[in-house]
């Protein structure tokens, strides 16, 4: 490039390429899940995603920004999946059934995403992620719970206790399903199907009744 060439090409418009951005996000999740946060560098990520480091910087300003933005993207996907066909005015049992189905479906279809979000939860990024929670989602979930308490379908509990009873059993079943085998050295393959899910959900609903 000679010193005058910029006169003819003053600047090249960089464009956002949806496919490239998705490839970067997908590879970043893979690298973090496989190698942890320290295993991720912009240089390595560029190589893995088949783009130049400069391309990554079009979308993300540094590693922390990338991790947070990827987290927000995955969270949004999960929230959209959970809210599909979900009506906060529905009965507690019906609302829980929809949520369990939606959550299980999303997590089973996106095990990498689940793993990545768990890693964020137990890392210093967690504090930042808390400030970026989807307020609409929290509002909808809050309304659902308050409706159920008002209708005497749900016992009033501290949020953490409610959440643990309401969803932790499902998350554990999903994790066991993803691991591909039963607990305690059970050689038989464990599969989380609708029947198993409904059986567990019934117990959860029973436990949460006032």
């Amino acid at each position: 490039m000679n010193e005058h060439s910029f006169i003819f090409v003053p600047f090249i418009m960089r464009t956002r390429d949806e496919n490239k951005e998705q490839a970067i996000r997908r590879k970043a999740i893979e690298m973090i899940v496989e190698e942890g946060f320290d295993g991720l560098s912009m240089q390595k990520l560029a190589k893995a995603a088949g783009v130049s480091p400069a391309t990554i910087y079009i979308y993300f300003k540094d590693r922390d920004d990338l991790i947070m933005q990827v987290w927000m993207g995955e969270m949004k996907k999960m929230v959209d999946a959970i809210l599909k066909n979900f009506d906060p005015e529905a009965s507690f049992e019906e609302g829980m059934r929809i949520q369990w189905m939606n959550r299980a479906k999303f997590l089973m279809e996106n095990p990498m995403s689940m793993h990545f979000m768990e890693q964020v939860k137990y890392s210093p990024y967690h504090n930042v992620s808390l400030t970026k929670m989807d307020s609409n989602f929290q509002e909808v979930m809050g309304r659902f719970v308050h409706n159920a308490i008002k209708r005497k379908e749900l016992v009033k509990l501290p949020f953490e206790v409610y959440w643990s009873v309401a969803f932790a059993p499902l998350y554990q079943l999903v994790k066991t399903h993803i691991s591909g085998r039963g607990l305690r050295g059970n050689p038989e393959k464990f599969e989380l199907d609708e029947k198993t899910m409904n059986m567990t959900l019934k117990l959860v609903i029973k436990a949460l009744k006032p």
Partner: protein, 83 residues
């Protein structure tokens, strides 16, 4: 009836310029004096964690050469990071 076909590529209105530098965290104030003062820069950041200390600038009007000139003037290395 309208039919809307989304464009596969969306042009960002603000140009993103990307450079390899030797600006480290300790130099941030020196660099900020120059970059903050330029009203044409919408946003800028340096990735101190990267070996290339990548400087990222969002601006609608600045050219690569102008940025390199400004950053070099205050004694830092600055070259465009090619695609």
């Amino acid at each position: 009836m309208y039919s809307f076909t989304p464009k596969p590529m969306e042009t960002i209105l603000s140009e993103v310029l990307i450079f390899k530098t030797n600006i480290h965290e300790a130099d941030v104030k020196t660099v900020a004096v120059v970059l903050d003062a330029d009203y044409r820069i919408t946003r800028w950041s340096v990735d101190y964690g990267d070996i290339d200390c990548v400087l990222r600038i969002e601006s609608q009007q600045l050219t690569t050469e102008e940025v390199i000139g400004r950053v070099s003037n205050i004694g830092f290395h600055c070259e465009e990071l090619p695609d």
